[in-house]
């Protein structure tokens, strides 16, 4: 039997968090664990194509990695030979049993620990993302460097420094208590959403970066498989699936931003939307609302509307109100203002965001939204000022171009008020 090499790579990537997490627990040292995992992968690539993949790739990699890892440690003193590959592959069933017994009870915390060490509070967000993509996802340094638009050497250095920081802090190996596990889950969820947003916000301008969205969804599904009854992880997965479902509709062929209400909804990915709606239904049954669930619920209302005219703005306004209560933030209020403008007109929305001016003065979206509302209200001169401010704060050429389009619209309509 021959096995597709591309499939083997997928299987190795899929098994990585569990296998590396178990090896980390075993060796208590990230570098040794990574070396051992790497060695196990090389053997997999050599043996799987002929012998066929094992039924449990992660268990195989843990078993082989642990042996080769031990061997690498021993080699430094004794130079022991590695076991024969034939022996290993023929032992397929036995090794699965052993690895299962040793690791199944722990693998959930292994995976969580591996993700959690990437979220060290001393590491800035971008370093957390880079470290998680390197360690948990197994992306190569050049791949990560391309996404962040830095040189490979710079990214290598960044990751090495981040790893040193993590090692210095000490990896928490004891089995976490319920409270601590819940805290870790929360922190890891934020990290996964950071990865998603890194991809989402750069959009079409950098395809390497856009792949982060899929990686974040993969990690969320993984987290949900090991913590199947956590409604906020369901919410997080649903939120990312919904946002990612619009990937094909968010930009025109020139890379210009297309607003949600102007998007061609036939380009939305229905399979992702349906999965998100299924997850959200499951989450709501728990009656433990949280920020991810509420944001996903808002996003789902857009997904459920066949046309932008049919959007249930009243429900969206209500959900933003709920979000303001459970996670107060001026950005949430800003988003709510859009719903309010649809329900009660631009002036009401402008009233709502007026108190945010100071806090959000350095925020691109604030001036973009404000400009849009002023334009709707026919206050073109003020709209122009807001749009100029937004352009100065734009994070990407696409954002800049989008605001310029708005300014063009202003020019086309004579201002009735000023």
């Amino acid at each position: 039997m021959t096995t597709d090499i591309a499939w083997i790579e997928l299987a190795l990537t899929a098994a990585r968090p569990q296998a590396l997490g178990a090896l980390l627990r075993y060796f208590r040292d990230l570098d040794t664990a990574e070396e051992a995992f790497q060695e196990a992968c090389l053997r997999a690539i050599r043996t799987w194509p002929d012998k066929g993949p094992p039924r449990d790739p992660a268990a195989w990699l843990i078993f082989v990695g642990r042996n080769s890892g031990i061997d690498a440690v021993r080699k430094r003193s004794k130079n022991d030979p590695l076991p024969e590959e034939e022996v290993l592959s023929d032992l397929s069933d036995a090794e699965t049993d052993i690895a299962d017994r040793l690791d199944n009870s722990n693998y959930r915390d292994d995976i969580l620990r591996l993700m959690f060490i990437c979220c060290h509070p001393d590491l800035p967000n971008t370093q957390q993302i880079a470290l998680a993509l390197r360690i948990v996802s197994g992306l190569s340094v050049p791949q990560i460097a391309r996404a962040f638009l830095v040189s490979e050497a710079a990214m290598e250095q960044r990751i090495t420094r981040a790893k040193a920081r993590v090692a210095k802090a000490g990896v928490p190996f004891e089995t976490p208590g319920a409270q601590e596990r819940a805290e870790r889950l929360g922190i890891v969820s934020s990290m996964i959403y950071l990865i998603f947003n890194e991809g989402y916000s750069s959009g079409i301008t950098n395809p390497d970066n856009a792949a982060f969205c899929e990686e974040a969804i993969r990690l969320a599904r993984l987290l949900l498989r090991i913590f199947p009854a956590e409604p906020e992880i369901m919410g997080l997965a649903a939120l990312m699936l919904l946002q990612h479902s619009r990937a094909k509709a968010r930009f025109d062929k020139d890379g210009q931003i297309i607003l949600l209400e102007d998007q061609d909804r036939s380009l939305w990915n229905r399979a992702l939307i349906n999965e998100a709606l299924a997850l959200l239904d499951k989450a709501i049954r728990h009656r433990r609302p949280g920020p991810y669930q509420v944001q996903a619920a808002i996003s789902a209302l857009h997904a459920r509307a066949a046309t932008s005219k049919e959007t249930d703005w009243r429900e969206i306004d209500m959900l933003y109100g709920l979000l303001e209560r459970i996670q107060p933030s001026p950005v949430v209020t800003l988003n709510r203002a859009v719903a309010v403008s649809k329900l009660e007109g631009p002036e009401k929305a402008l009233e709502l965001i007026a108190p945010l001016a100071e806090k959000l003065d350095g925020y691109f979206y604030f001036h973009g939204v404000r400009g849009g509302l002023l334009m709707q209200g026919g206050r073109n001169r003020q709209a122009r000022e807001a749009f100029d401010r937004a352009i100065a704060l734009a994070n990407s050429p696409a954002e800049c171009a989008h605001i310029r389009q708005q300014i063009d619209k202003l020019g086309a309509v004579a201002s009735p008020v000023e």
Partner: protein, 124 residues
């Protein structure tokens, strides 16, 4: 004889397929199904979402329990099914072998004869 052909695979790998890989695999699988469909031997087929989207209802003490996740936590999970109406087991095996050959993943196909079969009324 009516058979269900149940497809088991590692979901982490199947759901990590890129759009291109996915389309290529599906095209090959459809090509295998096509002659069966033309011969009127293919019934309802389906692909399942990841097990993370699953909910399981189990017998409880008073009320049945509703649990998140799939019924069994296994390495390979049920990800899809075909229904076929064929003369012999050999024909079902041959069809499954064809599916297996064009599928690059490690999918296993379980061939289970139906005890009772209702095609149902669902229109999609």
């Amino acid at each position: 004889m009516l058979y269900a052909i149940l497809c088991y695979a590692h979901e982490e790998t199947v759901f990590a397929w890129s759009k291109e890989e996915e389309d290529a695999v599906m095209a090959k699988l459809y090509a295998v199904q096509e002659p069966m469909a033309r011969a009127g031997k293919l019934g309802p087929t389906g692909r399942l979402m990841p097990t993370t989207a699953a909910t399981t209802v189990r017998k409880g003490k008073d009320e049945p329990l509703v649990l998140d996740g799939p019924f069994a936590e296994t390495k390979e999970v049920l990800l899809g099914f075909y229904t076929v109406d064929v003369e012999t087991l050999e024909e079902a095996v041959a069809f499954s072998k064809e599916l297996s050959k064009v599928n690059p993943g490690s999918t296993s196909y379980e061939i289970r004869p139906f005890y009772v079969f209702h095609p149902g009324e669902i229109k999609t």
